[in-house]
Every structure is written in C-alpha cells, then in structure tokens.
Symmetry: C2
C-alpha cells in the first residue's frame, strides 16, 4: 500500500522507517513545518536524516502530504483534546478522498468518535486505531475479533509512565517526586508528564475502548479521573506488606469510564511492572482474557500502526 504519514515524532518516524519491511511505500511524510511528497516513494533515509539534522523532513508545505497519492493516511500528530485539531481535519480530508486512515493520535477517536464514524460511513475508506490503546498490544483488534457487543468490560494499566513510577515507588519505597525525576532522567517520563500522571492519557484510552464497547460518543468529559500525584510512598509500603500494590487502573464497564489508583494483588494480571501495560477483558462465553506487553515506544506503537495497515491491505476501497 502507499502510505502518507502526518507527524514526525517517535511513532511517525518509526512508521516511515519500518514501512518498507512491511511491504508498503511512503509517498508522503510531514511534520508540523514541512513535508516531502513523492508518488513513487520518498527517500526515507534522507527525510529522517534531514529531520535529525535540520528539524524538518523536507521543504514542502506540510499540507501537501494530505493531497499526496496514498491508500492509507497515518495520523501520528500529538493528541489534542476538545476539537482534536489538527488531527481531526487530517482524518476528514483523507476520508473525503475515499482513503483509509490509521490513527496513532488518540484525539479524534477519543474526543470526536461520532464525527469520525460519520465521515467513515460516507467514505470508501475505513478508520483503524489499534495504536491508540496499549501500544503494541492488540487490544482493539482482540475486542473486534470477539465482537464489540460480547466484550462486557475492560480494566487494566494503559500508561507506562505512571506504571513505572508506581512500580519503582513500591519496589524501592521511594517518594513520588523522587521516582518521577528518575523516570525523566531515564527518558521514561517526558519533561511535562502531566497527562501521564494525572490520568488524562489513561482516560483517553479508556474512552476509546468505551466508544467501541458501548458504541457511544464518549469523550474525556464523561470519564471520572484521578491521578497518582498525591499518592504517598508510605501507602505503597503498607500495601506491599499485605501482598498488594497500587496501579493506575482504567475501568470501562457498565457504560462508564473510571481512572484511579487502585489496590491490586501483586500477582494480579493487571499489575505489570515497569513500563508494561496489561488489560483484562471480560468476554461473553470466552471468560476473562488477559493481554500484556509493551504499551509505548516509537517502534512498538509503529508496529501496531503497520499491523492496522496490513489489515486494510485485504480491503480495497471502492474508488
């Protein structure tokens, strides 16, 4: 397939770098300031090198990528709340051109799910978003495989940064501030980790799952969200004495989304260590199903994007 990629952060860059190995050609690639477009396939090595040395992927207008020749547009710009722009407009442009869309950006599918599905219904293209929940872990396609109406609930850990902080606090008896600084030194936490530790990122993922399970139009406004910033290290120590620990859990069940620090047994399938993610699904007839693995990382998330593109390969658009 010909792939256009908007967004040149860790995920977008990894998609561009790995696309050829997955049998696809990159015909357009844009960051927020520039683009490179070539219907015969861009020079990937050159674009990534230019990005590293000069901070731009090429010399074209970033909007040019939206009009390029692609079968699938990969939307990998940063997640934004509210109107989910500019991601949402990119999705609209591609669908109006009857192209497929694969999202790594959570915004459009968490904040404007109904709008996206409406555009999709009028398009020959399809929308996929495996990479938005659980990184490399196939949470979305597993739910789709069983049938969204047969999955009663999901709960688990969907943010690696918060999980790393809680794991370290528990294992070492250290304070939140201390561990967060360590996580930033290690590159596990961003310079501004607000959305990771205050539960926003986890909530957006929970909302995406809720949209799928309950066929709804949930947005982050509908989620109840508590973060981990105020957790005293002593609480984790207390939990540990009883074979318990604390994890920032997303709970999607009975039509609601809740994110909060919760006490769970240390050996619980939803108590991964380090930056791992882990979810448990409750599925009619199949019972409880646990999935865990790498929930973040450019290459891991790109693998989910490329797997989505593979699923679309069998699916021709009508144009």
């Amino acid at each position: 397939m010909n792939v256009g990629v908007v967004g040149a952060g860790d995920v977008g860059s990894a998609v561009v770098e790995l696309a050829e190995a997955y049998g696809h050609a990159v015909t357009g690639f844009a960051d927020s300031r520039s683009a490179v477009v070539d219907a015969d396939g861009i020079d990937v090595a050159s674009a990534l090198s230019t990005k590293r040395t000069e901070g731009t992927v090429g010399s074209g207008d970033p909007e040019a990528v939206l009009d390029a020749e692609y079968d699938v547009l990969v939307e990998a710009t940063p997640t934004t709340l509210g109107d989910a722009e500019p991601g949402f407009s990119h999705v609209r442009t591609a669908l109006e051109r009857d192209r497929h869309v694969v999202l790594a950006n959570k915004g459009p599918i968490a904040e404007r799910y109904g709008d996206v599905r409406e555009l999709e219904a009028e398009s020959a293209g399809s929308v996929r978003f495996e990479a938005t929940v659980g990184g490399a872990i196939p949470v979305i396609s597993t739910i789709e495989g069983f049938g969204t109406s047969r999955v009663d609930s999901l709960h688990g850990v969907l943010n690696g940064t918060a999980n790393f902080v809680l794991s370290r606090m528990s294992a070492e008896g250290l304070d939140y501030e201390h561990v967060l600084a360590e996580a930033q030194d290690l590159g596990v936490a961003e310079a501004d980790p607000t959305f990771d530790v205050d539960g926003t990122d986890t909530a957006l993922k929970g909302v995406i799952v809720a949209n799928l399970l309950f066929d709804g139009e949930y947005s982050i406004e509908d989620a109840s969200v508590d973060g981990i910033q105020a957790l005293p290290g002593t609480l984790l120590e207390l939990a540990r004495e009883d074979g318990q620990t604390i994890r920032l859990l997303a709970e999607v069940r009975n039509g609601s989304v809740r994110v909060s620090p919760r006490l769970v047994p240390v050996e619980s399938p939803v108590a991964p260590t380090g930056t791992h993610n882990a979810v448990q699904l409750d599925i009619e007839n199949a019972g409880q199903m646990n999935l865990s693995g790498r929930g973040a990382g450019g290459v891991e998330t790109a693998s989910a994007v490329l797997t989505d593109i593979g699923r679309l390969s069998g699916k021709q658009t009508k144009r």
Copy 2:
C-alpha cells in the same frame, strides 16, 4: 452463515447451542452414530435433548451432514494422530465442495498440515483453527495479525489439566497421583488423562503453532516431548522455596517444538494457576506479548470456533 457441525462432544454441542446467538443457523449436526440435517436450520434444542436422553443427535446417517447445505463445516470430532481420520476426510469433503472449514479437532492441522493447506489452495473455501490452541485465547489470530513471519517464538502453558495438577502439587505439597485423582473427581481431568499429562496434547498445539510460524509440515514426530507423570512433589516444594514453580511448557522456537516440565518464577507470565493457559510471543518490533485466559471448556472453545466463523463471514467463497 449456515453451519454444519461434525462432533457432538462438549465443543460441538456448545457450538450448536450458541450458533444462533452469533447470527448463524445450524443446518447439520452429527455425532459418530447419527445426524440431523435441515437446510432451513435444525431444531437445536431437540437435537441436544435427544443426544442427552438417547445418546444420538437424530436418526440420519452421520455422513449426511457432510453433504448438507452449509457455508462452514465445523470439525469437532476427537483429535486422532497419524492419518488424523476421520477428521481429515471431513475437511477434504468440505473443501472439495468449496466450503469453509473451522477446526476444533487438532489432528488434521497438527498431523497433516501440508495436505490441508494443499486442499485449501485448490478450494474456494478457507480453513481456520483458532480453537485448536489455547481454547478461548486468540493465539492463532494474534499471530496472524502480526504476520506469521514476524512472530519469532512462542512459549507457554497450553494444557489446563497438566497445569491444574502442577498448581495443586505446588500449592499443597501433594503427590502427583493424589492430585490427579482429585482432578478426575472434579472433572478437570478425564478418566484417561494420558495425552494431557504425558505432553501429547501440549505438543500437538506446539506443532500447530510451528506449522504456522515456520510454514512447515511439522507433525508430533518432530516434537521433543516429556510429561509430568514422573515429577516428585518434593521437587515442586524445593522450587517453591526459591520463588519458583514448575510448569509444563511448550517452546516453539528456532524451527523446533519442545514440551517439558520447566522451572519458572512464580510470578512469570507463563505460570498461570489452575486450568488457565498462558503464552508469551516474541514479536519483531512489538516485543514480548503475553496472552492468558481459559484454555479449555466446551463453551470457551466454542467461542473460539464461533469467532472463526465470524471472521469467515466477511469472506465470500467464489461459488
């Protein structure tokens, strides 16, 4: 879809019972001695009740189901080794009629994979076999989703009976013979549990995964297999003192299949308790992925069969 079901054990019966809820009609149903066939859909309740009271599903010739009007034939007769008959002939008949086949029977896909793929290549029908490995857990479709060539290895627990026995031996410090008798009382182990405890069942599942990963023609002859019958309870106690336990692991990697009792940390993702199954996949770019859940049970395995049928629904045969 119209579904024909051969085999009226726990899995076949559960498929027949649940089919309507998944949007399918059962047009034929056979056990080893009888069949009931109706192009408009059989009376499921009556067939299952006749099976319970009289031991047969109806009054027809069991072969009649193979000629019935179905889009998908579900092969749920007991697994046999070597020529994998009569399952293999059922698969052949359906594929030669350009119908899809969904297997719960491991025999044809473990022992005659090359023959099955050859018949499939000449047919308008497709073959699916999610239910043959890991019960309700979507092991096969997860591997297919990432691309079989990108999954480097699988290891884990694929037999619930053996796992129950090892879990109990470890938790209670009891001997193998004692726990096995208990498992038989509970219905977790069959009257003849040979294939579960000697590793044969696990090996067949490992061989199926090897056929998929290495695109080979493996059979159980190619697997190295050790069972759990000779494990002294004291060994499990010794392991436990060091935070370890013993699990009957299938290891599919580097072109080989090995089944043997292995020492693993108690908190390892491949050390499920009770009758659960758990596998870890090593996937290019995605990293290590863990899946666990219910690896057996009529309803759970039927759920995998029905999910396979759902996947085929989108896929029209050419006839």
